[in-house]
Symmetry: C2
Subunit: 515 residues, 2 copies
């Protein structure tokens, strides 16, 4: 990971030398996580088989509605499914066969800075920031609608931290821009203010095609035929429905060999049965159908099995996070994805709390722990998420990134090299003598322990004398300092111009609308 | 767990009827955790064998100092160890053999209310509150030295929550009482204000003997010969030293067939090498030596292998918590204890934060997750711990108890009964139709999801209208309400009188001292 190339297969032209020099100032980076330990399993093989069997039974007997998508019905009919109006019923095993026949078990998503390419699948875990919040929150101004400036800020903050490996997608909704055009500014922000891999628009098939067009400008049209440079999120309309918006976007990406996160979004008790095994069977059924569709559109197009499941407050019906049941669903779905042989997306720093308080941190940790121990490959919502996804918190983002950093150390596991075993140190240290001055300690001290950039480990007296700052106050200082120090990564000026021209032309070609 | 007996083998006398009636008002209870899933393993069998081998090498070549404990040296000499001054070196495998020959793999700690008996070992996990803080903290008065009133408050709060199964020991230091007499009031508080199992004094062998005497009054002297009613905490003086205070207390308990938590207390980099494998090998060596001592004192006396390990701030040398390295040590030690065949103690809601903020919650969750997934049997510090153990937080206690509650649901695992599978629900629900009104949902809704008693899951607007309370403000209301509603569990008046007489007599027999 020492090479720093720009813009994929695209020529960098005469400005290459100057740009290479500027590249030296690029943000620090660390590789995505490569887990070394065997994932935690919530179920035995027998239990997992049972859920797979149930998913097949549901696909066979109930089937899935593919609404307003005649091409999907045609594809499924040709593949051997039973079509009844918009209902698609899958003979037992068909959906699984369609996925396993051609979906890759892992794939590389190329970033315009190739040092930031991510491999999604296997024992890898790739962190991306939160996705989708219409609101933002910070300590200074409280909660307010997100703007394109906030969007750019979170792209910049994500670029600046080495512990998020991916720029994400809708890091917040830029509510100040018209709904039918904001995707241009969002995709451009990822392309221009970061050099990490990113996600595309899914709110309309046309917007997905715009994303692909812009990616062709950035990476070169030929390059896209052979490489995946965009990952996008398609949510099922649970229970058991795929609609034309999401499926149309998924189709646009799959046709262009770009990756689709096929994610049933389940509020258990509302969009699925209340139980873990019931929600898991349904999630598997819906995801299998969505992934099978992508494979029929273009065999070999990368897909990721996604699971987003929350529990529910019995008092209010509101979604709840960081609770035991979603963790069990996550572990179960991670195991099912491994058995199927496709990359898995789930988890993140989820919480229902409105602020980054102890509730937020407890709930977030309770989701991130299964995310890592279960073996998730692609993690949206790693940083920033508040209020059940309605709000993106600046301070929460910083706190979550600090936790993301810690996971890099954890997944490396126990060092069993001679230095790691430290037997020489143990055999040369007298009982009752501390190890602080031992040569082994001095040699390892700098790198022995993960360092938090947010935690305060000082004495009470020192902490109190320094203003008794809580974690949020410290995080507030951090994101402001980061944004003040931000410098954009270099980009080929011609490419940048072409992107801007594309956006201007398209924006001028139809009127603004918030529909 | 439906019977509610008082005072172990002790007769309850003529007041039994009246007391049985009062018993109906006892605090609600739920059983300790019985885990159903296979623990997470940080190392393979090969890695664990390597660490065991290294521990044996250290015991053989370096050995352990047993300071000012001539009886320990005699016992070890007779058992085949090599004695050199106060140094005890163990031929390879000896310490392990001594432990495995007689230490029980699990044991019952009897509570004076037999419904609160806990089985320590196997797949069980027993939660106790934090242990040892000299300070307490609450939102109203901030941080201050703990008093006996605070001590009683935390005994009462622990009694009142069903999610802590054990009353713990030094829930805070009652600094307002003389050091050499405060153990009487502490042990009495556990006996009188709760009916859960508790821990004894370890600050002097005489105080350990007082604890045993008081337990004989409460449970009956004969009863103690056959039953374990006290568990106590003996920390090694790492590296590689056991001193006469801790060992003397351990001996007093083991002689009386009472249980000892044999716990090396390791600040990695200071009391051990910096590395996970090094700290684990040393912890195992020290714990094996301590447990072997207890088995020589009284074969079959219950012992628990304890591990308390923290990482260190490279800036200040301060201990840090909730970081990756202690989690890896915990997972490693849990596996080693399982291989050895003794119960394991570790973990808790540990943090270096001075307040119950996001740092505290993140760090606590990052320790409690390995505590459960690693398969810890006995958990001190489940609730209240702040500031690296220097402070006991009232609000932190409530927040942690809420998390302890959640673990009860998690460890039950995935329900694969027909109701849990929910296949009928999946097969009778039309695509696109929500499950809220389905018979399966209505039948399961009340019990489907764990309910937090602290989390706020309301909308932003509702939360804001209700005062925008953070988790701490809500917790503050909870502990005050609990204390206001507290009623002591019944006790045999004659036993209570005998306990008080014992305490008064002993207190009068020697002068106060703070040494």
């Amino acid at each position: 990971m020492t090479e720093t190339e720009t813009t994929g297969g695209r020529r960098t032209g005469g400005r290459a030398g100057r740009q290479a020099a500027r590249m030296q100032a690029a943000a620090p980076r660390v590789p995505y996580l490569t887990r070394t330990m065997t994932p935690f399993e919530a179920l035995t093989e027998e239990g997992l088989s049972l859920i797979e069997h149930n998913a097949d039974t549901v696909l066979e007997q109930v089937g899935i509605d593919f609404r307003d998508t005649p091409d999907a019905l045609r594809l499924f009919k040709d593949a051997g499914a039973e079509i009844d109006g918009e209902r698609v019923r899958f003979p037992r095993g068909l959906a699984r066969q369609l996925v396993q026949a051609s979906a890759p078990s892992q794939f590389t998503q190329v970033a315009r800075n190739r040092a930031n390419d991510v491999v999604i699948g296997g024992t890898n875990t790739v962190f991306a920031p939160a996705y989708g919040p219409p609101f933002v929150r910070d300590l200074d101004d409280g909660r307010r609608y997100g703007t394109i400036e906030d969007f750019r800020n979170f792209v910049k903050l994500t670029y600046l931290t080495p512990f998020l490996h991916h720029s994400g997608g809708t890091v917040c909704e830029p509510v100040d821009l018209p709904v039918n055009k904001r995707h241009y500014d969002m995709v451009y922000a990822h392309m221009r203010y970061s050099d990490k891999a990113f996600m595309g628009s899914v709110t309309h098939p046309r917007r997905a095609k715009d994303t692909v067009e812009m990616a062709r400008i950035l990476f070169g049209a030929d390059f896209l035929e052979e490489h995946t440079v965009v990952v996008s999120l398609a949510n099922a309309n649970s229970p058991m429905v795929w609609d034309s918006t999401m499926l149309g976007a998924a189709k646009a990406y799959a046709e262009a060999n770009q990756a689709v996160l096929v994610t049933p979004f389940i509020l258990a008790g509302a969009m699925s049965p209340t139980t873990v095994a019931g929600a898991a069977a349904q999630t598997l059924a819906e995801a299998l159908a969505g992934m099978a569709f992508c494979q029929l559109v273009r065999p070999g197009a990368p897909v990721i099995l996604g699971s987003f499941a929350s529990s529910m407050s019995m008092q209010s019906g509101a979604p709840t996070f960081g609770t035991p049941e979603p963790a069990l669903i996550l572990y179960t779905m991670a195991s099912l994805a491994r058995r199927l042989g496709v990359p898995f997306r789930s988890g993140g720093a989820l919480t229902a709390s409105k602020i980054a308080d102890a509730q937020a941190a407890y709930e977030s940790a309770n989701t991130m722990q299964p995310t890592i121990l279960g073996g998730v490959n692609s993690v949206l919502h790693t940083a920033g998420w508040l209020e059940g996804g309605l709000s993106m918190g600046y301070e929460k983002f910083i706190l979550d990134v600090d936790q993301a950093a810690a996971w890099h150390s954890f997944v490396a596991g126990v060092d069993l090299t001679p230095n790691g075993q430290a037997l020489d140190a143990l055999l040369t240290n007298e009982p009752g003598t501390h190890f602080l001055g031992h040569a082994h300690t001095l040699a390892n001290f700098e790198t022995a322990f993960w360092r938090s950039t947010n935690a305060d480990n000082a004495s009470f007296e020192q902490w109190d004398a320094e203003g008794a700052k809580d974690a949020n106050v410290r995080a507030n200082e951090t994101w402001k300092r980061m944004l003040a120090e931000y410098e954009p990564p270099p980009i080929d000026d011609a490419v940048d111009e072409e992107l801007r021209e594309y956006i201007d032309r398209k924006k001028a070609s139809f009127p603004d609308s918030n529909a």
